[in-house]
């Protein structure tokens, strides 16, 4: 079993925390994990990319080859298409619906969303709205972790346990809201 994932977004959107949650859940499920991330200058408002590889055997490279990704998960529509070349023929393209506009030449969002819908396996998730519904508008990331989960070799219970562990030091309501966000995201992508 091997799952190669590309995680995309814009610096500050929390792409790396999504990668960390999925990676941690995969580790607790007993998989080998390699996760490559972007630090430093590129993080500041620029396009951010993380590669995540989950396997039950040895993984050679930290980077996913082009045409090899089982899942491209993006916090933002344009950024999901930026890495389309990595997607395997039957891979899933999952993107949050809300554009992140910090550039003057952001393309017509309707064209971008229509293009995403052309991929054989695709999901466009109203992440901001679902986070609000979960009672924690900051939990957009967690909605997207949920949206990724139907495409991951991980049980929802394992992922919920990871989320609980992450917020163990905070008020229990925080973990609950995050788990709710996760489940709303999962339901939206299933």
């Amino acid at each position: 079993m091997k799952k190669d994932i590309i995680l995309a977004g814009v610096g500050g959107q929390g792409v790396l925390s999504i990668a960390a949650i999925i990676a941690q859940a995969a580790v607790s499920a007993g998989f080998s994990v390699r996760q490559s991330e972007v630090h430093g200058m590129a993080q500041r408002g620029g396009a951010v990319l993380a590669h995540l590889r989950i396997s039950d055997t040895n993984i050679a490279s930290d980077l996913v080859p082009q045409g090899g990704a089982d899942l491209v998960l993006s916090m933002e529509p344009v950024e999901s298409l930026r890495y389309a070349a990595w997607l395997a023929p039957d891979g899933a393209l999952v993107s949050a619906a809300e554009p992140f506009v910090n550039i003057p030449d952001y393309p017509d969002i309707a064209v971008i969303l229509r293009t995403i819908a052309l991929f054989p396996v695709n999901r466009i998730v109203e992440a901001a709205e679902l986070a609000k519904e979960a009672g924690l508008s900051r939990a957009v990331n967690m909605v997207m972790v949920g949206a990724a989960s139907p495409f991951l070799p991980l049980k929802p219970e394992t992922m919920e346990a990871t989320i609980s562990a992450m917020f163990a030091n905070k008020d229990p309501s925080v973990a609950e809201a995050n788990k709710k966000a996760f489940n709303l995201g999962r339901a939206a992508a299933e």
Partner: protein, 552 residues
């Protein structure tokens, strides 16, 4: 404790701690920063790492390496961390350190940035190791980052030389689970006995240099026998040989199955190189029957360029020099795949069902509300208001390395040069002395202390007519908010102490509402025909956010 996935940088740091580290020093620089951050975080000891050690940031890479030399002199183990271009700053003690009789293990961890994700160049630190004639270890995964760092300390003490640990961006910033070994105690304090080994007076230095040369055959024997310099000949097609090193080995293996298929099942002979000096004998054995050799290495063609002295000319060598592997940029599975003449893997885009629209680039930019943005607006305004007839051609704005380099792109587009840490000050001085009327240097607070301050001393001594603008956001922002060595309120006495006239040391609050007022004051200083220093102050937004969080 649940098994944890560590960044390559963190794995190297943990390896150093487990090797009995006593002290670590460094200057932040992507992709090396997380080594020292991990060390600082664990320096006070905790449940997993009971022993304490010293770990701190320094004003620059040279002072960091010199402090580490002092630790080694005292018999204890030391690590220094920096990015590749930082090694240029530390190159004086680095080259000379190779001539010392290293006592406590000294490991210099340098993270290279092929692809220039956040750097000015792609220089390859393996050249520096060869230049200094010291061993270099090049881990290819997080596990090796841990074990090789441990080994590096032993090696340093055994051969009495510093050892270079070469990391690269992709390893530094990728996580994987690692297995750790038992933690070793620190060395007892025990000063170097023979002080002539530590004094590079010409008479001693000449002798030490001979002894460094004499160590080379032993180092070569060590690298030839090292398990990470793995030669695979048995049952292989020895007509085609492949040399990989570092991460190049991983990307080769990622494509190996397809490569073997494309060659009707035959597997090329192979040598992976993980430690240097270059194992010349293994290279000769690899290539005894080879007609063609492919070299896959991360960074510059360090191995490839040396081969011509080792191998006969009849062998065709394919690598970076002939363009088989891209000469620039980072390696990745696809670059190596093309180098092996394999067709692209089929992907979702190949079916033709989807045609992508043109996507705009999304380069990094200053954070919304960043004080540097307001400072650049002010500089822009002041410069525009200089006599328009002579303003632009007679103005030079030399900037520097840091977050504020992002002011070079729209909407600011202010800096005209960005070269290396500290260069803005010297370049502004040179521009002024070349005859540019309004020479302006722009530098951050940490970069100023790193290496800008020495050029300011020159400029004050020469009373150069120029304006130095210090963008003081109270932190090393670009690399993730490390402390600066001098607090904002100390800049004024520091610079006055260097001899600048008080009336030309201006402090301004970098805020939008003061734009007009600040621009007028700045313009006055730019027009002053002597040396001025103008400090724009306001805390970095990231730093402010982190500080408030910690205060809670």
């Amino acid at each position: 404790m649940e098994e944890q996935a560590l960044l390559g940088d963190e794995a190297a740091a943990l390896g150093a701690i487990h090797a009995g580290l006593s002290a670590a020093y460094g200057y932040p620089g992507t992709p090396s920063t997380e080594i020292m951050e991990y060390l600082i975080e664990n320096a006070k000891g905790n449940a997993h790492i009971p022993d304490t050690f010293h770990a701190s940031w320094c004003v620059n890479e040279k002072t960091a390496l010199e402090a580490a030399l002092g630790v080694s002199f005292a018999g204890r183990r030391a690590m220094v961390t920096m990015k590749h271009v930082g090694l240029n700053v530390a190159s004086d003690p680095f080259m000379n350190g190779a001539l010392l009789g290293i006592k406590g293990g000294l490991v210099i961890a340098v993270a290279d940035d092929p692809g220039m994700h956040s750097s000015q160049n792609e220089q390859d630190s393996r050249f520096y190791a060869a230049f200094a004639m010291i061993p270099c270890l090049e881990p290819r995964n997080q596990q090796e980052a841990y074990t090789m760092t441990r080994e590096a300390f032993d090696l340093s003490e055994k051969f009495q030389v510093p050892v270079l640990l070469r990391m690269t961006t992709r390893l530094s910033h990728a996580r994987a689970q690692i297995k750790t070994g038992p933690k070793r105690a620190q060395n007892p304090l025990s000063k170097a006995g023979d002080k002539t080994q530590w004094m590079l007076l010409p008479a001693y230095a000449r002798r030490n240099y001979v002894s460094l040369i004499e160590k080379q055959p032993e180092l070569l024997a060590w690298s030839a026998a090292h398990p990470s310099n793995k030669l695979d000949l048995d049952g292989r097609d020895t007509g085609l040989a492949v040399i990989t090193s570092g991460l190049g080995g991983n990307y080769y293996e990622e494509n190996l199955e397809d490569f073997i298929k494309s060659r009707s099942g035959t597997i090329p002979a192979r040598l992976h190189i993980g430690v240097y000096p270059l194992p010349e004998e293994s290279i000769r054995r690899l290539c005894e029957k080879a007609e063609r050799l492919i070299v896959i290495e991360e960074g510059q063609p360090v191995i490839e360029e040396r081969l011509r002295g080792i191998l006969p000319h009849r062998i065709t060598i394919n690598g970076k020099l002939d363009g088989t592997i891209s000469r620039t940029g980072e390696l990745d599975p696809d670059v190596v795949r093309r180098g092996l003449s394999l067709p692209p893997r089929p992907g979702a885009l190949n079916s033709g069902a989807v045609i992508l629209p043109k996507l705009p680039g999304r380069p990094p930019q200053l954070c919304t509300g960043c004080p540097h943005g307001d400072s650049y607006e002010t500089i822009k305004k002041a410069v525009q208001e200089l006599d328009p007839a002579e303003g632009h051609p007679n103005t030079a704005i030399n900037a520097d390395i840091g977050c504020y380099a992002l002011g070079a792109t729209p909407p600011y587009s202010v800096p005209e040069s960005i070269v290396c840490m500290g260069a803005s000050v010297g370049m502004a001085r040179g521009a002024a002395e070349a005859g540019i009327k309004y020479a302006i240097g722009v530098i951050g607070d940490s970069t100023f202390l790193h290496s800008g301050i020495s050029s300011l001393i020159d400029a004050i001594a020469a009373d150069t007519p120029m304006t130095l603008i210090i963008l003081d956001n109270s932190i090393v922002a670009m690399t993730g908010c490390q402390q600066t060595m001098v607090r904002s309120d100390k800049f004024r006495p520091l610079i006055l102490g260097l001899g600048l006239k008080g009336e030309h040391l201006i402090e301004l609050e970098a805020k939008k509402q003061f734009l007009e007022e600040n621009a007028a004051k700045l313009k006055k200083e730019i027009e002053y025909r002597g040396l001025s220093v103008v400090i724009f102050q306001r805390e970095c937004l990231e730093a402010f956010r982190k500080r408030k969080k910690n205060e809670k």
